[in-house]
């Protein structure tokens, strides 16, 4: 996936001279996850720029660059390192178009490596999407596949509004030899059914998608035919596809790494219940990270949703009522 992201950035830089990358260690080093590998050499240190180590400064400066008409793409080195930039993001990036009645749109992309599962130490495993989703004015996007990593990032950079682009850290090393780059670029807001299933729908995104696919495989043995729906963009949210799918199966489990309380799953469960109540055979359940600060690496497997936790939620979908 890291290579697909790299290719998306390279193609965007080549296609539009207004695209500029900014971040910490993204130049000579190529980023701590190597997503910008080779781009400074190819496009020069001004278009793939190592900045001083200050996230609010990076995003604030990128805001000014976008005000001038450039199309900056910034990298927050890790999820939790994005917090110093939060005021810029919430008070300015998300609001600039609205506060100027559309006169000053900000076409800027904020790339954030997020989530756990890579044995990272403290402050390297947060799933911060709920904060961004709760901020009107931002698009919030997260790929789960190699093809989407390319397509969604190109779309993010082409979008005339700010996009928080969440890159699942543990999928950086994922491969898909069937994908030929450049992959297809599509508009935001379209969820994709990764696996068809008749009995229940796992609604998920980002790093939890492979977990849900594995769970659906395992569920076969228990006699459940589970669908896996990859949301891809959290904002805008694809109510239509989610509801169509849940109405078809009548059961849904939302799966994500972020904490459950007031997390993305709470919103999704509420939306599904409000729209599909009479089609539901069971309450919408959630399998999420616990409501705890992200755990130390030796304990993270007890925190992250896994196949067992997904299946145990599926088992609680009131199947006995059907008989």
């Amino acid at each position: 996936m890291a290579q697909a992201l790299n290719r998306a950035l390279r193609d965007a830089l080549a296609a539009d001279p207004d695209v500029h990358l900014l971040g910490e260690d993204i130049g000579t080093l190529g980023g701590v996850f190597r997503v910008t590998d080779g781009l400074a050499a190819e496009f020069g240190p001004e278009r793939c720029a190592d900045t001083p180590l200050a996230e609010a400064g990076i995003l604030g400066a990128a805001t000014g660059m976008a005000m001038y008409g450039l199309r900056p793409v910034v990298e927050m080195q890790f999820d939790a390192f994005g917090y110093p930039a939060f005021e810029q993001l919430v008070s300015h990036v998300a609001k600039m178009r609205n506060r100027t009645r559309g006169a000053l749109p900000l076409p800027l992309t904020v790339r954030v490596p997020y989530g756990g599962g890579i044995g990272g130490v403290e402050h390297h495993g947060d799933s911060s999407e709920a904060y961004y989703m709760a901020t009107p004015g931002l698009h919030v996007v997260t790929p789960a596949t190699v093809a989407d990593a390319y397509g969604l990032l190109r779309q993010a950079i082409a979008t005339d509004d700010p996009v928080v682009f969440l890159e699942p850290k543990r999928l950086y090393w994922s491969r898909d030899d069937t994908v030929e780059l450049p992959a297809t670029v599509e508009p935001f807001g379209r969820a994709v059914l990764r696996r068809e299933g008749a009995d229940a729908t796992l609604v998920t995104y980002g790093p939890a998608v492979p977990v849900c696919l594995a769970a659906a495989d395992a569920a076969r043995e228990a006699g459940w035919d589970l669908g896996v729906l990859d949301l891809r963009t959290l904002v805008p949210f694809d109510d239509a596809t989610v509801c169509a799918e849940v109405r078809r199966t009548g059961r849904a489990v939302v799966v994500h790494e972020a904490s459950g309380f007031a997390g993305p799953g709470a919103e999704i469960a509420a939306r599904v219940t409000e729209r599909c109540f009479h089609h539901l055979a069971a309450p919408v359940l959630r399998v999420t990270g616990h409501d705890i600060p992200y755990p130390p690496p030796m304990l993270e497997r007890h925190h992250l949703p896994d196949v067992d936790r997904v299946l145990s939620a599926v088992a609680r979908l009131q199947w006995e009522d059907q008989v």
Binding site: G64, M65, E87, S91
Partner: protein, 349 residues
Amino acid sequence: MTIVEQPAATRALLPEPEPHRVLGTGAAPDARLWPELYRLLVRGRRLNEQATALTRQGRLAVYPSSTGQEACQIAAALALEPRDWLFPSYRDTLAVITRGVPPAAALGLLRGDWHTGYDPREHRVAPLCTPLATQLPHATGLAHAARLRGDDVVALALVGDGGTSEGDFHEALNFAAVWRAPVVFLVQNNRYAISVPLAAQTAAPSLAHKAVGYGMPGRLVDGNDAPAVLTVLREAVAHARSGGGPTLVEALTYRIDAHTNADDATRYRPPEEVAAWRERDPLTLLARDLRAHGLLTDETERAARADADTLAAALRAALNTDPALDPLDLFAHVYATPTPQLREQRDAR
């Protein structure tokens, strides 16, 4: 105690030991510029008074007055070319108006019918910024972008003494210096951040000294001396335009009014202090020199006041009408294309 001699490169960045002054020094007047500055100061004072009055009448939600700081406000606008950009804070409506934004539009934020009442691109004036110092990195980034594109554009950002304590101040100045961005930072040191005096804000010898740590020049100027502020800002702008990089300018001034109409300044500063600063009013200082050189007569004074009254009357008339409000506007500008969720909420109204 040994006195360590600073290297020449460091000394060159240090601000002048005394604030730069023009008025009262016997400097020869600019017979064209100074009367114009005076006209603008009179106009600015009148607009401050008018806006404050409009808050009492409920026509503005709030007004952070720049009474006493008009020299900084006027000079900030005059130091720039039309192609340059101004980055104001919430107290800088007057600089925005002097730059050419119609007064009623500049007051849109404070009237409350929309957050920004003008098109920033048309006037090259960023929205009035309410969170402190957060507009400074924008100025740095915009100036950097202009340089990347090879455009001859300078950004000038305004901030107060309190704002210099914010992290964004530090990051904006550091980025600007590292990038040698064509940007000028003007600190209007009006001695108080709402109620907190400068001594509780910083232990630096002056706010201009902070420039040295970033490797940019610091300048200190009497903020109530309009020709002095304009001179220093023009030098800083020219320095930026010629590729010399950023400058931090500290203008020593005083907020004569309370923080806003909702504030009570008698709770935190003595009346003698305010009275002493009234003696150093920017209008009084300039008028004294102008009269000494025969450049201000009772007649020109009257003409300046009449011009200011006309502008104030136009502002009154503009704000005494009720603005057209459309609740559907709330959904129109959040995204280029409203999300399905926003469309749903809009249509449900």
